[in-house]
Point group: C2
Chain length 339, copies 2
């Protein structure tokens, strides 16, 4: 384990003065080192050409360390995936911390290492950042914002306007895993399970699909907070079409399905991290799913339904036993701070 000049982060580390510089030198810069970050300016300067995508997310997950990862890799993967969902190839991320005083340097370093590892895996660079510290009781260990920029893939044409009735709805893998992994360690909910979060970057897989299927991919979304059901409702709203989905075709790991039953939760509303949804041209859907199943994080991919002209702005589920019911957006809050 590395040694630090100090064990615990205090308000002084957010002063902008000497202690902030020490925190950055011994922590952030040493772990995240790269030429753009090393300029130490108020921002990074680089050149990217063509249409760009820009996305932001603040991560407030609790607990900060969870089965399968920590808030650091979640913050990188989440924004990388948001860019991928725009049809972009993520390139540069910003990184901003709001630390509650009392976070230990060892915890902070573990988070930084997870950030570095996730960034390397996704092929992105952290190029600019910010660190603030708030008093005990005014935060919760650490909140992280990442914002990201990427170049839109030359073959991408992602837009709700391109979705038509008949398009197939695909999920890239089993749903509800992340949410159940977090629930399993939440105070008051603890239950025994081997389920770990599926947090990962999906950009390489999405890029391969865009390389090979291009404009046949009409829409991409990652069903994080609110789950598959909420995203489908947003797609139905934004396209003014209906969505028909079949329960039997929605992939869920057995253990996750069991936990959902135990907790009385519908997996369609549980948050995901390492899963994306695609709405694709009907004639290419089978080939795309077959290809996706050969790619990282895509082996559980399935067509779960299609867009329809009937019941515009409504999502209808056909259950395993053949009944049909309307699936609405998530109402209320299933589990706060899942990402």
């Amino acid at each position: 384990m590395p040694q630090f000049d100090f064990e615990v982060i205090t308000l002084g580390h957010g002063s902008g003065g000497l202690l902030t510089n020490k925190l950055l030198e011994s922590g952030v810069f040493s772990v995240l080192k790269n030429p753009l970050l090393d300029t130490h300016h108020d921002g990074a300067v680089f050149t990217l050409t063509g249409p760009l995508a820009f996305s932001t997310d603040s991560y407030v997950i609790s607990p900060v360390f969870f089965p399968g990862g920590n808030i650091g890799e979640l913050a990188v993967n989440g924004t990388v995936n948001d860019l991928a969902m725009c049809g972009a190839i993520p390139a540069y991320l910003s990184l901003s911390f709001i630390i509650e005083e009392g976070l230990t340097m060892h915890e902070f370093r573990d988070i930084l290492v997870a950030i570095r590892t996730a960034a390397d895996r996704a092929g992105v660079q952290i190029v600019t950042g910010d660190t603030k510290v708030v008093e005990k009781g005014k935060g919760d260990k650490i909140f992280i914002n990442t914002s990201g920029i990427g170049q839109v893939h030359p073959k991408a044409a992602i837009s709700a306007r391109r979705v038509t009735a008949g398009d197939k709805i695909i999920v890239s893998g089993p749903v509800a895993t992340h949410g159940i992994a977090i629930m399993s360690v939440r105070e008051g909910l603890d239950f025994e399970t081997d389920i770990v979060s599926d947090t990962t970057s999906l950009n390489h897989t999405v890029k391969t699909l865009l390389d090979e299927f291009g404009e046949a991919i009409h829409l991409l979304r990652d069903p994080t907070r609110g789950g598959v059901a909420t995203v489908l409702n947003e797609i139905a709203r934004d396209t003014n079409l209906g969505a028909d989905i079949r329960q039997a075709q929605i992939p869920v790991h057995d253990e996750v399905a069991g936990a959902c039953e135990l907790l009385g939760l519908d997996p369609l509303y549980v948050a995901n991290e390492g899963v994306f949804m695609a709405v694709v041209a009907a004639d290419m859907a089978d080939a795309l799913v077959a290809r996706l199943q050969t790619l990282p994080h895509g082996d559980g991919a399935a067509i779960i339904g299609e867009m329809v002209a009937d019941h515009p702005r409504q999502v209808v589920l056909t259950s395993r036993i053949g009944g049909r019911r309307v699936v609405n957006m998530l109402v209320g809050e299933q589990l706060p701070r899942i990402c």
Copy 2:
């Protein structure tokens, strides 16, 4: 005053589901409306050419409403100014909220309106965003992250490497105003004053200087946390030069100077918002200051010293009575959460 479906923001508004959508529709989208934001996707897509600057900052200022502004305009102005300090023309911002449950919709709307007004004034668009809600006691009313992208001005050549001995150090106006304005309303510190924060966007003024003086401007920095003294120390470190400054030439409003004396603070360490520092070629410095004095927020501009080959990495102040002393970086924390 507008009416809302709900008076207070709750955890459910961070669910990603129906309540989040309601919060966004009735609050964020209605105030910040623009074509890129209205696509409702996970990110925004646009085209910018040439070298780009990218910057991020999280704002945790307390109190959220302060003399002269609120956290909303601070969050826009701060990131706009960071981009300007890179020699860039700010174009697009992301906006991410971490709200503590219990924030009222009227407070939130006042913050959104301040964001909109500041963005319009700076000529930037908010194009993508995120909203999270944390439990009471796990945040402090609201934290805001803004990240921004801009095109580097074609005549800009901003780099610590371009600074040489003899370069003049300029501040754009009276220092320490923002910090003293915040202190005046802090719990336990309350004192009577008419001092208001100088938070503002400086990008238009900086652009005019770059248009007219281009490469003569070697470095730009805004002395926020840690104040002028800390930024000068960072410049000395990054250039491996010394900095000589003269106390008598550092502009400070009388009332601010009085408050600093009362509180035992050195204005050189107090945070600024509407002030920038420039290190410029000696032969252009007088002309640049004269021009700056005619531009918005520049009427108090002054040359406060110069870079020197002596005492590398050290900042030396000549006092009003002629004594010389080393000015170090801010040590410890003068006032937490000043921005």
